[in-house]
Symmetry: C2
Subunit: 226 residues, 2 copies
């Protein structure tokens, strides 16, 4: 418990909350270490749990009744997940592990207790929802208006910004990404992704090997993205 | 002020909040009566206001930098709008009036004061965001996976459910809807909407006149929607 408390205390998001709030989370929260592809919950389940990512990466997605999957977000450290369950409805997305993840699992009741007793913690939950709403609106705009190639370019560019590290001017995306996963993020076919990535590889904008993408020219990629 | 207090007191969403909360809203809120097509705010503005719809209908949309518009939600009575501004960022959508609307405008600071002093009011804000997130996720799934005709069918069906009234087994959608507006909700061209509506009119599923749509067969429409 002391170890978890120390981890929480060093998290940027928690700098304004009460000491007692972090002690409560460390005491009540259950820490889970999860392997790649573990499914944490499925869309429509009655899960009254709220998750906080301590490490690794998880995928929030939604599936059609025919089983097709649309990836909505990739979430990492310091992000809350499933806080929308506070409204007492079932989950509206599925959650699975992309890259070995450590999560703290909290009961909804404990989160409600903290929200009521620490207004700054309450604001963290509100801000987490605001941020998800803003991202969802941008995605709706892109899906509704942009052409498929622009959407793929836009997604690769954002993955570079959010999950990239730079080496000698190139941005390495720190994720193992199959073409199907990119297709599921963009909402298009695997073939469209394959075709477009080959095209921009030939143009010297990216390079690909073993599910890893390196962006060689962020500016040119950004142009496609408009 | 007494009149507003009485209106608020009869609203379903407020049945769990404190009497003082409603008195505070009635005292601090500014009531605005707005005509069709009035623009309340634009995407990217610094508006520290939160709105509550008392009557009428408003459109939440987002625009690309080329000025193309994607309608995200049509909102009506008892809905909060722009509560995501609690995170201190600029607006992430535009808001305009669809059908003469009466809104209460509250400063963000007043909403924060109420959230801190009435936990049930705080939960209303959380529930409002949850509901928007759930709707946004469904929209992302539909935009990402469904074919355009299915998306149009799905949108007409939902408009019937949310804004329809029944006369002799037919569902009249209580909105003046141009083809361009439907296109902007669905994220497709005006021509696609026109073509598909004519098709399902010929199939006896809907009838159209003067921007009004009547659904003659909800079941058949639902089949298109899958």
């Amino acid at each position: 418990m002391d170890k978890i408390y120390r981890i929480l205390k060093h998290m940027e998001i928690f700098r304004t909350v009460k000491k007692e709030t972090l002690q409560y989370i460390a005491q009540k929260g259950v820490v889970k270490n999860l392997k790649n592809d573990s499914i944490i919950y499925l869309d429509g389940e009655n899960i009254n749990k709220i998750y906080l990512v301590l490490d690794g990466k998880v995928i929030i997605s939604k599936s059609s009744k025919f089983g097709e999957e649309k990836i909505i977000y990739i979430m990492e450290k310091e992000k809350f997940i499933n806080e929308e369950c506070i409204d007492n409805k079932s989950t509206s997305t599925s959650l699975k592990v992309m890259k070995e993840a450590t999560l703290i699992v909290l009961c909804k009741e404990d989160v409600l207790f903290l929200m009521e007793n620490d207004f700054n913690f309450n604001l963290l939950i509100i801000n987490s929802m605001s941020s998800k709403l803003r991202r969802a609106y941008r995605q709706i705009l892109n899906l509704g208006l942009k052409k498929i190639n622009n959407r793929i370019a836009s997604k690769i560019w954002k993955l570079g910004r959010d999950h990239g590290y730079e080496i000698e001017g190139n941005v390495h995306i720190d994720l193992d990404l199959s073409k199907s996963q990119i297709a599921s993020m963009v909402g298009c076919t695997r073939e469209s992704v394959s075709r477009f990535l080959t095209k921009i590889e030939n143009e010297g904008i990216i390079s690909q090997s073993n599910q890893k993408i390196r962006i060689l020219d962020m500016k040119k990629l950004e142009k496609y993205n408009e």
